[in-house]
């Protein structure tokens, strides 16, 4: 009977309850990770993180927690701003890091800037990856929310 009541309590959980449970679980996981890192039990840290991810996935899947729409909108705008700032920054960064290695100057051509060149290449691929991911998710969401071509 108590178990049924607990399950019911979880299912009808509102935002407040969810936030409380989330905070408790996060504190617990952080404690486990801290202890495991200090004890050099890295596997335990990984298991702790995976358990946390699994717990939140199950809770979100099994319960009907209404997401606060204002918070959701803030998250969307924050993600947009982050994307708009991050992508140009790393693309310019990658360009600046790659320029010295492309230069005809003898200093650069001797491979002294091999690490900056590698970093530049990583940044360039990261930029491409982000743009690709954005494009794919944009088209996917566009289709999901009915942005297909007009039907005859």
């Amino acid at each position: 009977m108590t178990l049924c009541k607990d399950v019911y309590t979880i299912i009808v959980m509102n935002i407040k309850k969810y936030e409380k449970i989330k905070s408790s679980v996060i504190i617990f996981i952080i404690a486990i990770i801290t202890i495991s890192i200090f004890s050099k039990l890295y596997l335990l840290a990984v298991v702790g993180i995976l358990t946390g991810i699994l717990f939140f996935s199950i809770v979100r899947f099994k319960t009907d927690i209404a997401i606060d729409e204002r918070e959701q909108e803030i998250k969307e705008k924050a993600a947009n701003i982050t994307y708009a700032i991050f992508v140009p920054t790393i693309s310019i960064g990658s360009f600046l890091l790659l320029v010295p290695s492309l230069s005809s100057s003898s200093v650069f051509s001797q491979g002294e800037f091999i690490f900056t060149e590698t970093l530049g290449i990583i940044f360039a691929y990261l930029t491409l990856f982000l743009i690709t991911l954005y494009t794919i998710s944009y088209f996917f969401l566009n289709r999901k929310f009915g942005g297909k071509s007009d039907e005859k």
């Binding site: 209404a66 606060d68 204002r70």
Partner: protein, 67 residues
């Protein structure tokens, strides 16, 4: 867009916290709507109207000049 949410809430003698619980949103959302800093979605606007048993346009007043 203006709204009379605060008036309706006061008539019902509810706190922002209580109204937020009834609408299943955060208190910050209620505060933001009341102060006009946040426009609720159509779904939430209808939810508010249904909760106060009035028409949506009785709570939310659309001003054409804003466009």
């Amino acid at each position: 867009m203006k709204n009379k949410l605060k008036i309706f809430r006061t008539i019902k003698n509810l706190t922002q916290e209580q109204l937020a619980d009834k609408l299943n949103v955060s208190r910050q959302t209620v505060i933001a709507i009341e102060s006009g800093k946040y426009l609720p979605s159509l779904g939430l606007a209808f939810k508010i109207a249904v909760f106060f048993k009035v028409n949506i346009e009785n709570i939310f007043i659309y001003k054409q000049q804003e466009e």
